[in-house]
Amino acid sequence: MKGYLGEFEELVLLTVAVLGDDAYGVSIKEEIERRADRSISIGALHSTIARLEEKGFLKSYLGGATQERGGRRKRYFQLTYGGKSALHDIRNLRNDLWKKSKVNLALDL
């Protein structure tokens, strides 16, 4: 099931995309918390990131040392081609499902 993408994983991938060049642990966590209004633990986040890296959807690089964070470097994350295509796949699947829905999914009653 290599191509399978979980809901939270999708969320993380998209957030990384949203953050662009500034996607690292804390920023991803805060972005998700802000937008999705849910509290996530750093442990859970990094576990998901690790899985995404294993699947080849994310790659990471260490940033330069700065004065903040006691000189500790940040690890930045980037979408890979695989990641992008996974996002496409899941969006296509969704769109397809939406289109073929026999129930009117519109909320306007």
Binding site: Y24, V26, K29, S41, I42, A44, L62, R73, R75
Partner: protein
């Protein structure tokens, strides 16, 4: 703002996390957590933020993310498995190179460690011996022994033995017992070989269960029948060889002195070390027959004495020992109901626990936990100076190694790598020393066995694979112990400092620790020297102490049932015999018997030591009579009189010795009258204070004839006496001089002096060699300074004094510390055990100090003079 900056996340969770993830991998994660923490600080109290932080750490540690990261980084630099075989290879190569580079110091280290470890090897081999006792027993896990605990309100004593009838009752009442073996000690037959030769053997009485429970193999004879009939006897192979020079002897008859004829029914293969020790086994039912024939005392049906009989059980596989013990307790409790104070109970002891238990009345060989512990302590005491030496020398040589360490660090070696390297170097050294140590071990093994009483029987001290393995572990342990401190020290060196040219920083020399170690070594040496001096003095003191009776030229002859009147008249015919008396025991040893004596008026009774003597005894041994008379020559058949000592008179409140005369006391059911008072004399060894004592007169109790001799040629007199003895008895003539007997009772003292002296010598040799090494290295490092001093006109003596000063000071400190410590130790603990003791005098202390300093001066002097004599041109020409 600046206030907030000062608040940092809690430290230890961070450390925990970093340790868990190996820093390098987790850099971004800790950064993330810090950032979150600081963000949180803006929203919540520092305490809550810290709590959150801790929680995060926990969650992260168990998270999948960290786990995969750890997996990924496993094979890269910085993780635990970084030590590879190649690295160890390199370490050992470097170790051998550096050992070869400093030959003198390596040699000194190897010698010291070899000598220091040798005692440890002895202790280890002894321990291995003890722990492998009875390993050959096939049923070992199921064999148990019934032990007896006697609690008589005063003290609790646990005996290895139990009452004779217990085995029979247990067989009837307890379940789960597969087999019972009853053993009685005290079968020490004297086998009559011919009219004049008697061969004594040691062994037990045992019932047929003995051969079923224990794995003693019968070479000949039927194991089921061998011990079935009375007067059957089985011999060990070597006993059979001793008696017949061959081992096919089943069916032959042995004549045992005093007991009758026994038929040999089996030959036991010589067995490995067991806690049982026997050369012969007689069948258990022989005891009943002998009792019927009244050849031995009746004990077989008594519950009372628990000292002669041993009960061994073979339990069923799943039987709980406690159940059997409970049954045994119930049985014994029905036997001792009349005495409220006395509590007797039984326990069950597994056979593997026997060698290490310190029980009273052990059946065969005994080792005991305490003596082994003391042995290990002494071994450690000798090992420590050797380890100190290594530490000292390593630190003294630090300057030479420092650059190497610095370079290693600069090119990426971490502290733990340096630590590993240094420890490995020491371990290699200690393993090399092990070889030397094993040679020493083999050389001293024999004399060690001689030093301890019964050593050859209790220990083999053979080199078996197991002992060699233990030795190897011990060598590694020693290496780590000696090397840990220098290794920590080296691993902490700052590479910048070591690589700067002027590396002679004060930190490198670690002077204080070296000084401390030297002081400790020499304090220990001093304790040993002074200890030996004190022991020797006490030994001499005890030999020459005026015991209050004549001990020279008194020969004690064992009566062995000879009619004493005939013996006396025979002996008195020999011209060299001055006088003869009779006694029940020999004064000055531990074997004095005692009775409870009731005061006539008061109701309580006192314990009084006693001795049965004839009318001539007091005169013969020149014991001073201060009031009254000795016993009358023609004593009546009934015991009437006693002669008491001064302490007795005082304890019983008789007032002056003269007032004591004709007072009476009750002994048992007899009322005895005091007819004489003697001056206090030491009827017990000097360890004991003189207590109440009286002489009684009962001819049936006499065991010894005390012959006073006045002879130029003792040997001739002895042979004369022996020939006249042989005319009246067919037993062997057995006689010992009283002073020899007294000296023999000091044997434990003598072996203590030997052991202490031996260990002391080792400790001193090690300390001196260590000092030698330190002096050499310090003299070397001050070579130039000495050269300059010499150029400016210092004399050789001046320089030597300059170099030696610090060391002499250190030894002086050691002496100042050790002397009071030794004094206190011996005065408070050791000599406390001896009531009549020599005080520790100025002479011993002075002599010990002089001895120690002589040694020290020889060592220091030889080296410092050598350095001081060097032509300054040699040392300064490169400048």
């Amino acid at each position: 703002m600046s206030d907030k900056k000062r608040i940092n996340p809690p430290k230890w969770p961070k450390r925990l996390f970093e340790w868990f993830c190996n820093e390098a991998v987790a850099e971004d994660l800790t950064g993330d957590m810090d950032e979150i923490f600081h963000n949180n600080l803006k929203k919540m109290s520092p305490i809550r933020a810290s709590l959150k932080y801790c929680l995060q750490v926990l969650v992260l540690i168990i998270s999948y993310g960290v786990k995969t990261r750890k997996g990924k980084y496993k094979h890269q630099h910085g993780s635990a498995s970084y030590y590879s075989l190649a690295m160890y290879n390199s370490y050992s190569k470097i170790a051998f190179r550096s050992l070869a580079k400093q030959k003198t110091f390596s040699l000194i280290n190897i010698i010291c460690l070899s000598v220091g470890m040798s005692i440890g090897l002895l202790a280890l081999a002894a321990y291995v011996d003890v722990s492998t006792v009875d390993n050959f027993q096939a049923n070992a896990s199921k064999i148990f022994r019934v032990t007896t605990q006697v609690d008589d309100a005063n003290e609790k004593i646990t005996y290895a033995s139990s009452s004779a009838p217990l085995g029979e009752r247990l067989k009837q009442e307890a379940t789960g017992i597969e087999e019972i073996a009853q053993i009685a000690s005290g079968f020490n037959p004297e086998i009559i070989q011919s009219a004049n030769t008697v061969i004594p053997l040691e062994g037990y009485y045992a019932d047929p269960g003995f051969l079923k429970i224990f794995s003693f193999q019968l070479l000949e004879g039927n194991p089921k029948q061998a011990l079935a009939k009375p007067f059957s006897i089985i011999l060990t192979q070597s006993a059979a060889k001793k008696l017949f020079h061959e081992s096919h002897v089943v069916g032959k008859i042995l004549e045992v002195k005093g007991l009758g004829n026994f038929e040999i029914t089996g030959i036991v293969q010589d067995y490995p070390r067991s806690h049982l020790y026997f050369e012969v086994i007689a069948s258990y039912n022989t005891i009943a027959s002998l009792e019927q024939q009244q050849k031995i005392q009746r004990t077989l049906h008594n519950w009372g004495p628990v000292t002669n009989f041993y009960t061994y059980l073979l339990l069923n596989e799943n039987k709980e020992e406690e159940d059997v013990a409970a049954v045994a307790d119930k049985i014994i409790n029905t036997q001792f109901t009349n005495d409220q104070k006395l509590k007797v109970s039984h326990k069950i002891q597994a056979i593997k626990d026997i060698p290490m238990s310190d029980l009273n009345n052990e059946i065969g060989l005994s080792w005991g936990y305490v003596s082994l512990a003391v042995f290990f302590f002494l071994a450690l005491l000798v090992l420590l100076p050797a380890c100190f030496n290594y530490t000292n020398i390593a630190i003294a040589r630090a300057l030479k190694r420092a650059k190497e360490i610095g370079l290693r660090k600069v090119s990426g070696g971490e502290s733990r790598h340096i630590f590993m390297q240094m420890v490995m170097e020491t371990v290699i050294l200690s393993i090399i020393s092990l070889i030397g140590s094993i040679f020493i071990f083999m050389a001293i093994r024999e004399s060690f066995l001689d030093m301890i009483v019964g050593g050859a029987r209790t220990f083999d001290l053979e080199l078996t694979p197991l002992t060699i393995f233990a030795f190897f572990l011990f060598a590694i342990f020693t290496g780590v112990m000696a090397g840990a401190f220098p290794a920590v020290y080296f691993s902490k060196l700052n590479p910048i400092e070591t690589l700067r040219n002027s590396s002679q920083s004060g930190k490198l020399s670690k002077i204080s620790i070296r000084k401390g170690l030297i002081v400790a070594q020499f304090a220990l040496s001093m304790i040993f020297i002074l200890g030996v001096a004190i022991l020797v003095k006490q030994y001499r003191y005890a030999l020459n102490y005026d015991l209050g009776f004549q001990k020279e030229n008194i020969l004690d002859i064992s009566l062995k049932g000879v009619n004493e009147k005939i013996l006396i008249t025979t002996l008195e015919r020999i011209p060299e015999v001055t006088s003869v008396s009779l006694s029940s025991s020999i004064p000055g040893n531990w074997l004095a018997s005692s009775v409870m004596v009731k005061h006539q008026e008061k109701h309580d009774s006192l314990e009084v030591y006693q001795m049965f003597v004839d009318h001539n005894y007091i005169n013969n041994l020149e014991i001073k009579l201060i009031a009254g008379t000795s016993f009358p020559e023609n004593a009546s058949e009934f015991e009437e009189y006693i002669i008491v000592n001064e302490t007795f008179a005082k304890k019983f409140g008789f007032g002056s010795p003269f007032d004591a005369l004709s007072k009476s006391v009750v002994v048992g059911n007899k009322e005895l009258r005091v007819i004489g008072v003697v001056k206090d004399f030491n009827f017990m060894p000097l360890q004991e204070a003189i207590s109440s004592f009286f002489f009684r007169m009962d001819p049936s109790k006499f065991n010894f004839a005390n012959v006073k001799l006045k002879s130029q040629d003792i040997r001739q007199t002895l042979s004369k006496m022996e020939s006249s003895w042989n005319k009246i008895s067919d037993q062997k003539f057995e006689a010992r001089f009283l002073d020899d007997e007294l000296e023999a009772s000091l044997i434990s003292f003598k072996s203590m002096v030997k052991i202490f002296g031996f260990l002391g010598a080792i400790a001193i040799v090690i300390s001196c060699l260590g000092l030698l090494a330190v002096v050499i290295s310090s003299a070397e490092s001050r070579m130039r300074e000495m050269g300059i001093r010499k150029v400016f006109g210092a004399s050789v003596v001046n320089l030597a004094i300059n170099l030696s000063k610090t060391f002499v000071k250190l030894i002086a400190v050691a002496v100042v510390i050790a002397t009071p410590v030794t004094y206190f130790l011996f005065d408070q603990f050791f000599l406390r055990m001896i009531f009549y003791r020599a005080s520790i005098g100025f002479m011993e202390i002075a002599l010990s100090i002089v001895l120690l300093f002589t040694l020290v001066f020889i060592i220091i002097g030889s080296q410092t003079l050598k350095v001081a004599r060097i032509n300054p041109v040699e040392t300064l020409k490169y400048e």
